[in-house]
């Protein structure tokens, strides 16, 4: 439903509580949980328990309290659950990264592994960007004016690492980075948000085009062939990312977002059918053409396959290509129902335990019970985003909020599905939990936009003065603005 009738006219309804108090209380709760987790890790790792842990917890609370007061000032009606959920996920991620640091230091004291400090810095940068976005973007509808600029910038950011020489952009076989000296970033994370802004605005403008009825087949209205061009472009883009940057996850994510936005805008199942058949086609082509895609599928089907000793080139077996996923599954299995306890497991045995395989680290130490709680946290975050999309009163805001929330949902699904061997493994980070600066900073910008939209959705309408009753015959014409 487009409008919110209870605020339209008549006796004033009781104003919706802004929820800022709830937000602050939940943030304090999150800070307590994170501090507790940190204390448990230190105790289980036989580290000295000092008062500095308490200060760390207070610093974390202080950081998010600043964010909270920014929300209070710039978006006072924003959703009260989004920020605490994000804060808790981010905090648990920080504790886990610190815990993996400790494990690495104990097995190799010279490694100097200190990812946690860097992640704290990234968190601070992310929160600064969060506040800047809330401060500068006072109305999300303004963004639709910059749709084509955003689309162009997004495309450039997305394509840049693929076109740059490998020495700058390649890390572990995927060309996703721009590294200048010690500083590196993954522009694809920011491109994601820019392209959602573009696609949402584009679909609002051209919605009729996509809803034009074509031929009816199997009880579904299929669009005309010439209206397929945008979907083909999105598909080509995803395949381009796969070919140029050798990254399965990003490619999958982009196509998924475009498809869902198209479906949301037109409410036509046929787009899903067409998109999914494109997707299946793309998968088959990629499987035939790229060895790294084939490897992922083979290790997905059987990661524990023993390695042939005489054939060194065969990598889809336990000790080689399947090592990471096998170790992750062992980790999840060790965790079982209740986990080993924070700091009492061996999550560092999984390569990339701090980024792509954060889930198996958490699963090992918190168990199924803890993982389920984390999944419900993601669910709360996503449903709050989608709820804002339902409640906001303009089409652009609806599509933007849907796109942003769905990005998180799809990313969580792809990562968790990959790590738990439900779908073939693709390299993506868990939003807010995994180590990774670009991902964290970009996701804070994303959350700031979601809060902005939820603020617009929950803010009371400005009350119009009651119009005097004039008989229609005598009334003049009146220009009424049509909500877009």
């Amino acid at each position: 439903m487009a409008g919110r009738p209870d605020a339209a006219a008549g006796p004033a309804p009781a104003p919706l509580p802004t929820g800022r108090g709830i937000e602050l209380a939940l943030l304090a709760f999150a800070a307590a949980l994170v501090t507790g987790a940190l204390v448990l890790v230190e105790a289980n790792q036989e580290q000295e328990l000092t008062r500095s842990l308490l200060y760390l917890g207070l610093a974390y609370l202080g950081l998010f309290a600043v964010a909270h007061f920014a929300v209070r000032k710039f978006a006072p009606y924003a959703d009260p659950l989004i920020l605490p959920t994000v804060a808790l996920l981010n905090g648990l991620g920080l504790v886990m990264i610190h815990r993996i640091d400790l494990a690495r230091l104990s097995s190799d004291p010279d490694s100097g592994s200190d990812l946690a400090t860097r992640q704290v810095v990234w968190t601070a940068i992310g929160l600064v960007l969060f506040i800047v976005v809330l401060w500068r973007v006072r109305d999300h509808r303004v963004l639709s004016r910059y749709a084509y600029t955003a689309g162009f910038a997004g495309l450039v950011l997305l394509a840049l690492p693929g076109l740059l020489p490998s020495s700058i952009s390649e890390v572990n076989g995927a060309k996703l980075w721009i590294r200048i000296g010690p500083v590196g970033m993954q522009p694809g994370e920011f491109a994601k948000i820019l392209l959602i802004v573009f696609f949402a605005a584009f679909l609002v403008q051209k919605r009729e085009l996509f809803s034009t009825a074509g031929r009816s087949f199997l009880g579904m209205e299929f669009p005309r062939a010439r209206d397929l061009a945008p979907l083909l472009v999105a598909w080509g883009l995803s395949v381009g990312v796969l070919v140029l940057e050798r990254d399965l996850g990003t490619s999958l994510l982009f196509f998924g977002i475009m498809l869902v936005l198209l479906y949301t805008a037109t409410e036509r199942v046929s787009w899903m059918v067409i998109g999914l058949s494109f997707f299946v086609g793309g998968c088959l082509i990629a499987y035939q053409l790229f060895a790294h895609v084939r490897l992922r599928v083979l290790t997905w089907i059987d990661p524990l396959q023993p390695c042939p000793l005489d054939d060194k080139t065969f990598v889809a077996c336990y000790d080689r290509g399947g090592y990471q996923i096998s170790q992750a599954l062992f980790g999840l299995g060790t965790g079982g129902l209740g986990g080993t306890g924070l700091g009492a497991g061996r999550p560092d045995l999984v390569p990339y335990a701090e980024s792509d395989f954060m889930l198996s680290s958490l699963g090992e130490e918190l168990g199924l019970i803890g993982l389920a709680a984390i999944l419900v946290l993601y669910l709360v975050l996503i449903t709050r985003g989608l709820r804002s999309a339902l409640a906001v009163r303009d089409s652009f805001g609806k599509l933007l909020a849907t796109g942003l929330s769905f990005t998180i949902a799809l990313q969580v699904f792809i990562v968790i599905g990959g790590v738990s061997k439900l779908i073939p493994l693709t390299g993506l980070t868990l939003p807010f939990l995994s180590y990774g600066g670009s991902s964290l900073v970009a996701n804070y910008a994303l959350v700031a936009l979601l809060l902005r939209i939820s603020n617009a959705a929950r803010a009371p309408l400005p009350r119009k003065p009651p119009t005097p009753h004039v008989p229609i015959a005598e009334a003049g014409t009146e220009l009424v603005e049509r909500p877009t």
Binding site: L16, G341, A344, V480
Partner: protein
């Protein structure tokens, strides 16, 4: 760390984690009721004051146009207005669309909603763009037809 302490802290942390989740879900729950208008069901919530002091619309009266004088008694079902044969109020008017507007009950109030008509629906003088509350006695204009809610 002693085994017993480890087990206790482990279980305690998981319990606290779920407590956070449940607190979040509780907020979701109260928010759902607040938005759906069922405020009376919110634990500890206040019942909204009754609007209109019992003067609730009981019928719909056509005041102008070919059907002038027609009365439709209101129950909780929505009223469809348009040229389509299955409309509640079937208009024979070149300026009305097949499915022109709908008047429906939400909570205690009636709302008019334009169903994408060509020439629009007007509540008093303002064009109806989204669901709009219809007060008693305010004319709704659809093509050449004018209707009002009466108590």
């Amino acid at each position: 760390m002693p085994e017993l302490v480890l087990q206790l802290t482990r279980a305690g942390f998981l319990a606290l984690l779920w407590l956070f989740v449940l607190a979040a879900l509780r907020v979701v729950r109260s928010d759902l009721y607040a938005a759906s208008g069922l405020r009376a069901m919110v634990p500890g919530g206040r019942r909204p004051a009754r609007a209109g002091r019992g003067r609730r619309p009981r019928q719909l009266l056509v005041t102008q146009g070919a059907l002038a004088g027609t009365r439709i008694t209101l129950d909780s079902r929505p009223i469809l207005i348009g040229r389509a044969d299955d409309s509640t109020l079937v208009l024979d008017d070149d300026y009305a669309s097949t499915r022109h507007a709908r008047i429906s009950l939400q909570g205690d109030d009636w709302y008019v909603e334009d169903l994408g008509s060509t020439n629009g629906t007007y509540l008093d003088r303002a064009k109806v763009t989204g669901p709009t509350r219809v007060p008693l006695g305010v004319p709704i204009r659809i093509g050449k037809t004018v209707i009002e809610l009466r108590s």
